[in-house]
Symmetry: C2
Subunit: 85 residues, 2 copies
């Protein structure tokens, strides 16, 4: 079965996010004064062949730890959608 | 009321994604041969003060069009979560 994984990678809360701060500053300049705590991360999508959801989840978590994220400074979360062929 | 916006920015389907291709290649090297169509995008979170969901949604869409995305090559989607103060 084919799965679509949607992965969100964010900096851990205690890690400074200069890119987020820059975006927040730009939004203030554009007069969005009601916006705060902008954080910028990465988003990834991929298709994965796996017989069952558990196996797909195991592989996505492994890929995140080994390659897609830096576990020292980043967290990740993901959703798996089963795809009809 | 305070809202948390989670924004996913992806390259449009017809736009080449060399970063996604590089990640896919690296996953193949790591023996994840069942993975395809890796696409890399951006993920953003922010907090927003707005009296109602409709107003929060309107502002998030406007920010995305004006600053957070490049509408020529990128699509976006978002979710809004109401936060208890």
């Amino acid at each position: 079965m084919r799965w679509k994984a949607k992965i969100e990678v964010t900096l851990k809360k205690e890690v400074l996010d200069p890119q987020g701060a820059a975006v927040e500053g730009a939004l203030q300049v554009l007069n969005y004064r009601n916006v705060r705590q902008v954080r910028v991360g990465k988003y990834m999508e991929l298709l994965l062949e796996a017989p069952a959801r558990e196996e797909a989840a195991r592989q996505v978590e492994e890929m995140c730890r080994r390659l897609l994220t830096n576990p020292v400074i980043e967290d990740f979360s993901y959703t798996l959608l089963g795809e009809t062929p």
